[in-house]
């Protein structure tokens, strides 16, 4: 348990509230990023991470636009329900029951550079299936989505600031 000092001793508070604030402060101390505990902000972070990943896969598609035999890749769309039910991305970890055990850090996403898309609109004689126009559309869409996510993120921060009474 973390220790915390009461800032205003005159402040009267119900025991339940006290416990809640204590828990929040515990989390404040234990976590590097408290904002992850706010579901909306955590979700937006997940979304931004996904868009970042997608940008990399799209850049790969465009860079290989003339490589023979290259197939377009894309990553799995972000599952909204899953994101809602588990806001911070959960990493799979192995239980260490013996001090001799080596901690394994396995990440859930196994296919990080995207899997080849099954549906291809056209394949050139060289076996290349990249359609630049389609990729450009996807890049533009990705950029707009990212912009939306960052705006929502700053708005959420604004909400928290308003709640704290710091907005002017």
């Amino acid at each position: 348990m973390a220790t915390f000092t009461v800032i205003n001793p005159k402040l009267t508070m119900a025991p339940a509230d006290c416990a809640r604030i204590g828990a929040v402060l515990c989390r404040l101390k234990g976590r590097s990023m408290i904002l992850n505990d706010v579901p909306l902000v955590g979700m937006l972070k997940t979304r931004m991470g996904w868009l970042e990943d997608r940008q990399r896969v799209l850049a790969q598609n465009v860079a290989n636009a003339d490589t023979p035999g290259f197939r377009t890749r894309d990553i799995e769309p972000l599952d909204y329900r899953k994101a809602v039910s588990q806001p911070p991305p959960q990493k799979t970890t192995l239980a260490l029951t013996n001090p001799e055990h080596i901690a394994a850090t396995a990440s859930g996403d196994s296919d990080r550079y995207g899997r080849p898309r099954v549906k291809t609109s056209e394949i050139r004689p060289s076996g290349n299936a990249v359609v630049l126009e389609e990729e450009m559309m996807k890049v533009a869409q990705n950029q707009i989505d990212y912009q939306a996510a960052t705006s929502l993120y700053s708005r959420s921060l604004g909400l928290i600031k308003t709640a704290l009474g710091k907005s002017r």
């Binding site: 868009l51 970042e52 990399r56 850049a59 465009v62 860079a63 550079y113 450009m136």
Partner: protein
């Protein structure tokens, strides 16, 4: 940061396409390079190739210019009896460069180059948006 990775991947695309343009420019520049004496071979057209390479650090397939190969098709023959490289029948062997094909290839390289630039611009905008979060 993953955006830097996206930029690096796009940069490999830019480099590869620029290399391809260089080869095309070489072909076009030498479209009329004949041998200086009888029996010599004129310039032979170069063909750029692309290779997808898995970059472990970037965690993606990057592209690079592979071996530059030679076009093995026939040379063109033109009747120019006065030319120093003309054979006994008066024919001069000219390079197997077709400027129409080169122009089309150049256009394609340019299009791909611009697409990669587009990715760079989009990614940079996304980075700016991320940095803007600090200012709120």
């Amino acid at each position: 940061m993953d955006f830097v990775k996206s930029l690096s991947i796009a940069a490999t695309g830019l480099r590869a396409q620029a290399g391809r343009m260089r080869v095309i420019a070489e072909n076009l520049a030498n479209a009329n390079s004949t041998a200086s004496s009888t029996g010599g071979d004129p310039y032979r057209r170069k063909v750029p190739t692309f290779e997808a390479k898995f970059d472990r650090e970037l965690d993606a397939q990057t592209v690079s210019l592979g071996r530059i190969q030679r076009d093995t098709s026939e040379f063109q023959n033109r009747y120019e009896p006065g030319h120093p490289a003309a054979d006994a029948r008066g024919y001069v062997r000219y390079p197997n460069v077709n400027s129409l094909i080169e122009a089309a290839d150049l256009k394609e390289a340019q299009r791909s180059y611009e697409a990669n630039l587009n990715v760079v611009t989009a990614t940079r905008r996304m980075i700016t948006k991320t940095l803007d979060l600090l200012r709120t």
